[in-house]
């Protein structure tokens, strides 16, 4: 019987011109979004790979110079798009895309996509994920808002119930009918994105990531299908039902995410770059605890070395003291950077947690976080990228400081030059994208939130055993 109802629903959808046009529009805009995103990521991939190679070539072809001056020539790290960015670019659109790495200073990630776009980007970035997160619920609403009250209005409800099906079964059958339409779409869309992205970016597809995305997007479709049919069973008037559903969509998908992000920023503000840099320079100068001045630190290290090697002056040390102290300075500044960058990352993580809590009222917020994490475009992935780049910066600066320490004489800053193979011995930066298992612990609360939504709606639907209680 349920199968017959589903079949009948689909027949009615195919007869309704409005629905046919809307589905055609969905297919068209989805295809456009996929093409746009594939083209965009492919272009990013090729330009950034070329930029990384050019940067490397410049590094290798620089003239022979003092290692510290060579370090100041610096290196660049360009963010390479992950395969699933073709589905959900997430935060990668709003964060910096490259960083200049040099001694003494952990630079900012600059050139975010947001800086290069028009103000229209504030309305959203067209991608397959955006289609699935924002448009699909709308179409689910269109297909479901009159699924129950429409039968009552037409007078066909009694006819349906007289076929021996319970009201509860009818509700679930109607939900299934709507859900299956979009489930077919989500499955095909995700597969098409994964295959096309794999072919285009020549990268291996992570089946676990795709499967997980399919699972959560399916869950999201069920949530909206259940909501649509449930509201239709509660509100007698089809006009009222669609108005309520549209308002729910606007609140959960547009207003709540924005309100929660703004509140989270008010509660856990992020320092301005000026405040941040000021704190860092003060901490380097006066010490992290304010009682370990830079000059005193250097003096202490000098005294320790002189005592350890039992010599009277730094010139007598078996290595170049300048290189040694340079590295010590780097290590101290790294500690300071870790401390203050840690504060910023913590503020952002707290903001995200608060947003997730406030977003419990919206399955969209939970889904968005999960989707970004599975696509390597979450806050944690972005922080990880910065940390990997910073790790590289420290290692290449250390290599050059060690070269200075071990191979040059004290006071030879203007005369000593690195050997020919030094530049090549420093490997190029390689940023790794992580698999799903790495991201998963960060999105457990969002998974729970989504499951709660699903369970609550199933329970509500299950408790609707008859048509009474219409508003």
């Amino acid at each position: 019987m349920m199968y017959s109802i589903i079949k009948n629903e689909w027949l009615q959808y195919s007869r309704d011109k409005r629905i046919v046009w809307l589905i055609a529009f969905l297919l068209l805009i989805s295809a456009f979004a996929l093409w746009h995103q594939l083209d965009f990521q492919n272009q990013l991939n090729s330009t950034r790979m070329k930029a990384q190679q050019d940067s490397r070539r410049e590094w290798l072809s620089q003239e022979l110079k003092h290692p510290h001056i060579a370090a100041h020539f610096g290196n660049y790290a360009y963010k390479k798009p992950a395969l699933l960015h073709c589905f959900d670019p997430g935060l990668s659109i709003y964060t910096g895309t490259s960083v200049y790495m040099e001694p003494h200073r952990q630079n900012d990630f600059l050139f975010s996509k947001g800086q290069e776009s028009d103000t229209g980007i504030r309305f959203g970035w067209l991608s397959p994920a955006l289609i699935c997160q924002l448009l699909l619920p709308l179409l689910i609403i269109v297909l479901s808002f009159n699924s129950i009250n429409g039968e009552v209005e037409k007078g066909t409800m009694s006819l349906l119930l007289s076929q021996g099906i319970s009201f509860r079964q009818l509700l679930f059958a109607k939900t299934l009918a709507v859900f299956l339409v979009f489930e077919i779409f989500v499955t095909a869309y995700l597969l098409a994105t994964a295959i096309a992205a794999g072919l285009l970016l020549k990268a291996a597809v992570d089946p676990a990531g795709i499967f997980y995305l399919w699972l959560v997007y399916s869950c999201y479709c069920i949530i909206w299908s259940l909501s649509g049919v449930y509201i239709s069973s509660r509100i007698k008037n089809a006009g009222g039902a669609i108005a309520v559903l549209l308002l729910c969509w606007m609140f959960t998908n547009i207003l709540l995410p924005r309100i929660s992000a703004n509140i989270a920023e008010n509660v856990y503000p992020v320092a301005t770059n000026y405040q941040f840099r000021k704190k860092i320079s003060e901490a380097i100068e006066k010490g992290l605890d304010g009682h370990d001045a830079q000059g005193e630190r250097a003096k202490r290290i000098e005294q320790e070395l002189l005592a350890k090697y039992k010599v009277d002056s730094v010139e007598q040390l078996p290595f170049n003291f300048e290189g040694y102290i340079m590295q010590q300075g780097e290590e101290y500044s790294s500690k300071v950077y870790d401390n203050y960058f840690g504060e910023i990352f913590n503020s952002l993580k707290k903001q995200k947690t608060l947003q997730s809590w406030l977003g419990l009222g919206s399955p969209f917020v939970a889904l968005r976080n999960i989707s970004m994490a599975a696509s390597n475009a979450s806050l944690e992935s972005e922080i990880d990228f910065q940390q990997q780049a910073e790790h590289y910066r420290r290692s290449f600066v250390q290599n050059l400081n060690n070269d200075m320490r071990d191979n040059s004489a004290y006071g030879s800053f203007n005369t000593y030059k690195v050997s020919k193979d030094t530049y090549g011995s420093i490997s190029d930066v390689e940023i790794k994208n992580h698999p799903l298992a790495w991201s998963f612990p960060h999105i457990i609360p969002d998974n729970i939130g989504l499951l709660c939504w699903l369970l609550v709606l199933i329970i509500l639907m299950y408790n609707r055993s008859n048509i009474t209680g219409y508003h």
């Binding site: 950034r48 110079k65 776009s117 448009l135 924005r258």
Partner: protein, 481 residues
């Protein structure tokens, strides 16, 4: 005519009575007013944060410069006085210490629109070295979570939320009466469908405009009280464009009433119109602008590399570089700098940076132009893309769009040039820095760009489409009802 006006008056009064009678409407207006105030608070807090940061930044940098300058007055017979004097007058040592601040003070309308101000740096430190080398290392800590979600400022309230209020209040003005079988009763009063819908649109329009005006006045008062900023023409243009934008949405709901028969179709049409104008069309136009105007940052991103090395010690290379600078800046053609002078290598280094900036300027200009062209696409497609077009104009009026930020960068570049004009003569003519050289260091004062004629054009475009929608809907209403 008199009778028609009387009927309109009756319809207007009836709508007012209906609106007042339903408590949900009072609640709706209160909620929207509160969200407006919240939006204003967000804009105000952001602007205040920017102004405080710029003030602290500027005073810190100027204090440091004054401390450096105080070296001239020090007693050079004492070691610390001698060191301070050398620090201030030494042509090479002073270079590292001369840092000029440049800050982009938010405009009056910035309290209504945050725009792209959160992702662009709004203060720079300017030193003697290559401008672009310094520029592309300085960023602001942008909050990606907020960028993803978007701001909750007055622009958002106007562009997204007020149309929603208009749609909610007006979408079923006619169909509800038809569904409830009340239409015959209303019609018996001599009120036509056109008069009925028009009077509802007028009432809602007036109420919404009153809300906007209240928020606007509070915003201007806050600007004056907290930031000592008096209203300017751009602020009033902001209000005028808001009214035009609301008129557009009233025309849309007028059309919905004319073209739909029942409440469910009207709700569907209202929802689709809102989603299409506030979400689908803007994202489509942005993606088309992205595709048609490609922007590649990889060239400009590599301008941060510091060109240092032994080539600057090579006298032939040095002479060539200084000669090239003489071609670019003839005032330094007759340089008296000798190769054995301690400043010679440094002057070569600075010449190289100046020449590098001159070359890089073209690439940076092209990079900025392309971004601005993308904004132009959004702003000039207001006819089909009203929400994003108006949002773009708001950002322009608030000087918080990419163009304003690029303009700020070019003003900072002029400051850098001014610094060179004061610093280069002593460098290239082998002198120590004198106290009056410090007086010649320029001070930065941000000048907002003039309001683009495009804003007016956009307003006209929107008025045209509003009139068009009203006219065709009017015809339909006359025919159908």
């Amino acid at each position: 005519m008199k009778l028609q006006n009387r009927h309109k008056g009756i319809a207007f009064n009836m709508h007012y009575w209906f609106l007042k009678k339903q408590r949900v409407n009072i609640l709706l207006f209160t909620v929207f007013m509160l969200t407006g105030l919240y939006g204003l608070y967000q804009g105000f807090a952001f602007k205040q944060k920017q102004i405080r940061t710029i003030d602290a930044f500027r005073s810190e940098k100027l204090k440091a410069l004054n401390e450096l300058k105080s070296g001239f007055a020090m007693d050079t017979t004492k070691p610390e006085g001698k060191a301070a004097y050398a620090k201030a007058t030494g042509i090479i040592s002073s270079n590292w210490n001369i840092v000029l601040p440049a800050g982009k003070m938010p405009s009056g309308a910035a309290v209504f629109n945050i725009g792209q101000a959160d992702i662009f740096p709004y203060y720079y430190t300017i030193k003697n070295e290559s401008f672009f080398m310094q520029l592309f290392k300085q960023g602001e800590i942008a909050n990606p979570l907020r960028s993803l979600a978007g701001h909750f400022d007055i622009s958002f309230w106007i562009v997204y939320l007020l149309p929603l209020l208009v749609v909610i209040l007006c979408f079923n003005t006619l169909s509800a009466q038809y569904d409830n079988s009340n239409w015959k009763l209303i019609g018996s009063q001599g009120i036509s469908a056109r008069q009925w819908v028009l009077s509802k649109c007028l009432l809602v329009g007036l109420l919404v405009c009153a809300m906007v005006t209240v928020i606007f006045i509070i915003g201007l008062a806050l600007n004056y009280r907290a930031f000592k900023q008096a209203p300017v023409a751009g602020d009033f243009l902001f209000l005028l464009i808001t009214v035009v934008y609301l008129a557009f949405w009233l025309a849309v709901v007028y059309a919905i009433n004319a073209y739909t028969k029942n409440t469910s179709s009207a709700a569907l049409a209202g929802g689709i119109a809102w989603i299409a104008f506030c979400f689908i069309i803007p994202t489509l136009v942005t993606s088309i602008a992205e595709k048609t105007i490609p922007v590649d940052n990889t060239l400009v991103s590599r301008m941060s590399r510091r060109p240092q090395g032994s080539k600057f010690d090579d006298t032939t290379f040095a002479k060539q570089t200084i000669t090239q600078l003489g071609i670019l800046r003839p005032q330094y053609k007759q340089t008296t700098l000798r190769p054995q002078s301690p400043a010679f290598v440094f002057a070569t280094y600075m010449s190289y940076h100046e020449l590098m900036d001159d070359t890089n300027r073209i690439a940076v200009n092209d990079y900025f132009n392309r971004i601005e062209q993308r904004q132009q696409v959004t702003n000039t497609t207001t006819l089909i893309n009203p929400a994003a077009g108006i949002d773009g104009i708001f950002a322009h009026l608030a000087a918080n769009d990419a163009q304003a930020n690029h303009d700020f960068i070019w003003q900072a570049k002029a400051l850098h040039q001014g610094l060179h004009d004061a610093y280069f003569p002593p460098l290239f003519f082998e002198k120590r820095l004198a106290e009056n050289d410090y007086e010649r260091f320029p001070l930065f004062s941000y000048k907002p760009a003039t309001i683009s004629a495009n804003s007016i054009l956009t307003c006209m475009e929107l008025l045209l489409s509003t009139a068009f929608i009203f006219l065709i809907s009017n015809r339909r209403l006359k025919k159908k009802w």
